[in-house]
């Protein structure tokens, strides 16, 4: 079992919605694959493309950026900016030879513990199918 490919996923979660959903999933004891390393940020708009690219160059098999649903941002419009930035970033990572599916932007509200579990599980499965990051260990920053 444990020899199976265990993807490494970096998850940038916004403090107000998705981090709260992750907490709720935790307190509800919802089980998930141990693939996601959570990094808390105040807003999904904080996640600059460089941070994501560095993660891929460091060998991340997947990067999840998750924040409040559009319209719900604690800072009014931050997640709209995040959405726009990531639409662009997806095409950038394609040019790096990575499947753009490896970068996922999800909206998960604070009451959506089960949805957090679902997103993590499904994203992990997707990355498992895509396999290891082909750039792994090729480069380091």
């Amino acid at each position: 079992m444990k020899d199976e490919f265990a993807p490494k996923i970096v998850g940038f979660l916004c403090n107000w919605c998705t981090y709260a959903a992750a907490d709720l999933a935790g307190t509800s004891k919802l089980k998930m694959p141990p693939s996601l390393a959570v990094i808390r940020v105040m807003c999904s708009s904080r996640v600059d493309p460089v941070l994501v690219l560095r993660a891929f160059l460091r060998g991340a098999d997947g990067v999840l950026v998750a924040g409040c649903h559009p319209g719900d941002c604690h800072y009014e419009k931050g997640n709209y900016y995040a959405r726009r930035r990531f639409a662009l970033l997806k095409s950038v990572i394609e040019t790096l030879g990575l499947d753009s599916e490896r970068l996922q932007l999800s909206w998960i509200g604070a009451s959506e513990g089960p949805r957090f579990q679902q997103v993590v599980t499904e994203f992990t499965d997707k990355i498992k199918k895509l396999g290891q990051n082909p750039m792994q260990k090729k480069t380091s920053l």
């Binding site: 107000w16 919605c17 709260a20 709720l24 307190t27 509800s28 409040c68 649903h69 319209g71 719900d72 604690h74 509200g109 604070a110 009451s111 959506e112 513990g113 089960p114 949805r115």
Partner: protein, 421 residues
């Protein structure tokens, strides 16, 4: 000397907001809440109209701020027993009921629920799911500390059960806790006790509790909630997804004698709920007059209409049995018709909190003809009461939406701070 401390009754969104602002100004606030949790009715909602914002995301930061605030003293499972004195010098007696769980020792791990042998209907979930006798109302409730419901706990009914206590690794469960009576001295009082929902059983033609798939608005709200009894799945009692749903407006309006202001928008919100989970579901909204005032609400209505919903203006309506299912029999101004549906959602009127008259007597304030607390002057002094120093905010005063409830809570703060009470 006048007392600057403030008593806030009710920890819903209005009460929380008033408490936070008063505390920010440096006042000591005593917040008395009847239930074991804070957040009131709003935390039962998955989303709020008209921007369909996640209610928890919106309110949780406020709840957390409140729990962390040093000059707010929160009394849950508590009620006001007696109020004496006047503006600047009220003496308030509060009954703080035992929670039987130590707020400081408990870490909220929920290990105590599992062994509890009791299972009763969960009121917070409108009876759609069961809970134990030691419980929190729903996952994510704050404070995340359970309470023991002595009415149903077998230990408090003569049996020597201590399974929850044994399961607790933090020695947080204390059967010896006693109800306490506390005396508070405050300069002003803010009443933010919210509302009750009209019970559609009172009108037999709606078939509520007669037909199993006729739901009240709050029941449907919990059904859609991701932290609710079905984790957000919309299904009939037989486990299937509904293919057709009727939403009936103005349930109880005639009986109550007023329009509750928020039900039209709330009913339109349900279309979004339904279409999100069941894109092919057929929806009919049965309304009388559409009450969607304000700069943003009509836009929401127009948007909702494009999602696929029949809007039918009825003059008379009845939910009937048809074959194995139910149907909506209705009359418009020109014709009578009948529509078989799988599910009916009743948009129930807002009415005064069930115990409003008891509290009105304790506070020495009056109620209007409908039982809401009476304001001093409906046009220019809607948060003041006939008693100086006692303010009413939110749905305790008049049915209203969250925006207006919050505005009133801030208005009471303005009134209190401006007088230097």
């Amino acid at each position: 000397m006048d007392n600057g401390n403030i008593l806030v009754i009710g920890a819903g969104v209005a009460g929380i907001n008033a408490s936070l602002s008063l505390a920010d100004s440096g006042r000591k606030v005593y917040l008395v809440e009847q239930t074991s949790y804070i957040g009131g009715t709003v935390i039962k909602f998955e989303k709020v109209f008209s921007n369909m914002e996640c209610a928890t995301c919106m309110v949780a930061p406020k709840q957390q701020e409140l729990l962390a605030k040093e000059n707010i003293e929160l009394f849950t499972i508590s009620e006001v027993l007696k109020v004496e004195g006047s503006l600047g010098n009220f003496v308030v007696k509060v009954k703080k009921k035992a929670r039987y769980v130590d707020l400081k020792a408990c870490i909220g791990c929920s290990a105590c629920f599992e062994p509890c042998p009791v299972s009763v209907k969960n009121e917070f979930e409108e009876g759609l799911s069961e809970r134990k006798a030691i419980y929190i109302p729903c996952p994510g409730a704050l404070p995340n500390i359970p309470a023991i419901d002595t009415e149903n706990c077998v230990r408090f009914n003569g049996k020597d059960c201590k399974l929850c206590k044994e399961a607790c690794m933090f020695e947080a469960i204390d059967f010896e806790q006693k109800d306490e009576e506390i005396e508070l001295k405050v300069g002003a009082i803010v009443v933010a006790t919210g509302f009750s929902s009209f019970d559609p059983k009172e009108i037999p033609k709606y078939g509520y509790k007669k037909f199993s798939d006729v739901y009240s608005a709050l029941e449907f709200e919990r059904m859609f909630a991701s932290n609710g009894p079905t984790t957000g799945e919309i299904k009939l009692r037989n486990g299937e997804s509904p293919k057709s749903v009727a939403i009936v407006h103005c349930v109880g309006r005639e009986e109550k004698g007023y329009c509750s202001a928020i039900c039209c928008m709330n009913s339109l919100k349900f279309v979004h709920y339904l279409k999100e989970k069941l894109p092919d579901v057929k929806i009919s909204e049965f309304c009388s007059d559409l009450c969607i005032p304000g700069k943003s609400y009509e836009k929401f209505y127009e948007q909702t209409k494009t999602m696929g919903v029949d809007i039918i203006r009825f003059e008379d309506i009845e939910i009937k049995e048809e074959g194995k299912g139910i149907s909506v029999k209705y009359k418009t101004d020109t014709k009578g018709s009948s529509l078989p549906v799988d599910m009916v959602i009743l948009s129930t009127a807002i009415e005064p909190k069930k115990d409003a008259s008891k509290l009105a007597k304790i506070l020495g304030i009056s109620q209007d003809e409908h039982g809401f607390f009476a304001e001093k002057h409906s046009e220019i002094a809607s948060v003041d009461t006939s008693t100086e120093g006692i303010f009413i905010v939110g749905c305790a005063q008049d049915p209203k939406d969250i925006q207006n409830s919050v505005a009133q809570s801030e208005a009471a703060v303005g009134k209190i701070l401006s007088r230097g009470t």
